[in-house]
Subunit: 430 residues, 2 copies
């Protein structure tokens, strides 16, 4: 055990801080995915992250970040800046921060030499620099890259330094860092969470419904807008695993009782995957006729492996001409009612169903903008229809959003939701 | 000008700190993309980010982050935690930090009410909470969401609070935050950059081509993989604006000479926008016949406003049956050659062109996996064809990627690239 009794536990309530180092992060050239990955890994093990910090490759900034982190957390994971080149200065900063000298570590040097032999490349002088680690640090081997990591502790916190390359960072967190986290930090709390994915209610509407529920105090409810959906995350934390599961299940049940129709899954599944599973289980086939959504529904359905089992055809009849030619929508109907109308939506769905020989067909027509809106049919007006053996259902929606993209995504999601609700015998969305 | 002379400039060398707030970030449920976007935006304006910080939705953690940030930067941008629900506590934290009370802001309330009227939905009581902002703050309007932002200053820094929803955050940074940053913070260094978007070469291939070029020392070249594209960012920094522009232009010219065919734009445009502009300028029309890409090409083309001017029809013939019924591909051809074959790809493109009466049609057929591959036609085998007045071009691609999504995205991008190259008279992609 590296840290031994050196770390002053108990004086601070928080667990983990993560520092990502690199100009490429603070200039926005890349998105820092390591911090999210490490946090996700650690929370699955019961360790909460209290802080993410990113700073440029700069001595003062790095030591400043180390200082901030140790004042907020007992475990600090630092990624990045361990490369062989001039601009990598994490080790130099660590030495300054811990007031030690860099020393050539034979174990690290050996590993680097072995690695270069293995990939049959010549080792350069600056790769030797990567074997220089702060005096007193413990080496963390890096099986898939040249830069080793290391661990160091002071009175305030235990620090792990790993490379920034995502694959190397992740591998080392799992295999080198995790086993070295002191037992007393682990599993103090058990966290479990369930995410319910909803469509059709706003965040405030959901919040209002859910505010009528009395959840156990150990349960937290969080909302996340993943346009056009709202995801409701139920998290339970407790030292006793049985209670956690029971509290989660109870909270979930209460939420389903309030807004169950709007929840399409409690798993990590997309709406199109849920629909695919239902279609497959019920041996139903599907056709799609899209105008305003321009392929978005068909694209989402075919994102799913094996969708050719139930998707028979997608007709993207974007022009009036093509609605007439491909789907046989009567020209007079379009002239009299307009392409964006109940009648045309119904004709599209019915014709697509018949043409493809499918059990069910959904259609979309509308005005995505930015041009084409009128006072009677403003931008965001969308007609959706669904035809199956029981007849044809149709509804006009007003997706009054400022952006074309939003309107199209709402129309596609609503089209999918109509399929789901019809298949499950739920009432149609409003 | 909001900040006036209140901010104590000069005592600290750094410019911008960015704080992202939300449990979803520190638990790793989502990757924080806002910070990278804001940093990228700001550096293009000459403002360097010195620190990214993420903390959970927790009063103490948020005030702690505000304190850390103001000690390191003169401008602090805070995103997230402005939603209507219980777990959003950024405003409460801001009030505690600035020692002011939250007050109902009439301007903000009006905007929220207007917005709910505009999207024809009922406003709930907790949306009113979003109009409560710290006393003395200046409202920043949010044209595409309900949560307004606000700006506040103290002696150490100027703080901007914006929502965490990426589209809203970005819009507000551009339109509300940027104009309010004091002039003296701007343009201290001149950074200019151009991004060249490429498709068809790997990062190492590009790197090899570009390594033959001698760039001026003030020019930096960076690569960014935006699957399936590689974006090449040329950045020049210098205090003298003329030299910057000249160096950038020279670097760009050199790169075009090496790999010009692979660059579809030097602007912030998607490939489908570039194609749309060319089609419109040349008064050409397009039809699309998709099998493996399942609507992805048509969706991308119709993402662009006004695409109905040139897109005549999209046929998503996902099943063999539908290739026969909708496009009239001969049944025998599919039986003899297979649905994934040069012959069927050609027949699809030719038939789509004829059926839609378009100048040009592109088609895709292939094996996206995870099942359906054979030793002769492994997963990732894709045939693309393009038919126009000069005849039909066809090619087999091997997109040997492990993921269905990647294969479909590569196939769609290649399909679009074929259209672009044909329209411009460039050689077809390999």
């Amino acid at each position: 055990m590296l840290a031994g009794g050196k770390i002053g536990y108990g004086w601070i309530a928080v667990a983990l801080a993560i520092i990502s180092i690199g100009d490429e992060i603070t200039t926005g050239s890349i998105v820092d995915t390591n911090s999210a990955w490490i946090s996700d890994f650690m929370i699955s093990k019961g360790i909460e992250t209290m802080l993410h910090l990113s700073v440029p490759d700069n001595l003062t900034k790095i030591t400043g970040a180390l200082r901030t982190a140790q004042n907020r957390a007992r475990i600090v994971i630092v990624s990045g800046g361990l490369g062989p080149t001039e601009d990598d200065m994490t080790t130099q900063a660590a030495c300054r921060f811990f007031r030690v000298e860099p020393v050539l570590n034979q174990e690290a040097l050996q590993a680097i030499e072995d690695r270069f032999r293995a990939i049959d490349r010549e080792m350069t002088e600056n790769n030797r620099k990567q074997a220089m680690i702060p005096e007193g640090a413990e080496v963390l081997q890096n099986p898939i890259g040249t830069a080793p990591g290391y661990a160091l502790a002071n009175k305030k916190a235990l620090f792990f330094f790993v490379p920034g390359v995502p694959a190397e960072c992740r591998r080392m967190i799992q295999n080198q860092v995790w086993p070295k986290i002191p037992e007393m930090e682990k599993n103090k709390k058990i966290f479990r969470s369930i995410t319910l994915r909803t469509f059709g209610l706003t965040e405030s509407q959901l919040d209002q419904y859910l505010s009528e529920i009395r959840f156990p105090t150990s349960v937290r409810i969080g909302f996340r807008a993943v346009f056009p959906e709202i995801h409701v995350k139920i998290t339970a934390s407790k030292r006793d695993e049985d209670a956690v599961e029971k509290n989660l299940a109870r909270a979930k049940l209460s939420i389903y009782q309030k807004v169950g129709d709007y929840i399409y899954t409690d798993q990590e599944l997309e709406l199109e995957e849920v629909i695919g599973e239902i279609l497959r289980a019920r041996k139903k086939t599907l056709a799609i006729a899209e105008s305003i959504t321009g392929g978005l529904i068909t694209k989402r359905i075919t994102d799913i492996p094996g969708s050719s089992d139930y998707l028979l055809a997608g007709y993207i009849t974007y022009s009036n001409q093509d609605k007439i030619k491909t789907l046989g929508v009567p020209k007079e109907l379009i002239e009299q009612k307009g392409a964006v109308s109940s009648e045309v939506a119904k004709a599209m769905a019915e014709s697509a169903r018949k043409k493809a020989g499918a059990n069910m067909a959904v259609s979309t027509t509308g005005i995505a903008g930015p041009t084409g809106g009128t006072s009677q049919k403003p931008m965001g007006t969308v007609h959706l229809a669904l035809a199956d053996e029981s007849g044809t259902w149709e509804r006009r929606f007003s997706f009054l959003r400022p952006e074309r993209r939003q309107i199209r995504e709402l129309a596609a999601e609503a089209g999918l939701e109509i399929i789901r609700r019809r298949l499950l015998g739920l009432k149609e969305p409003e």
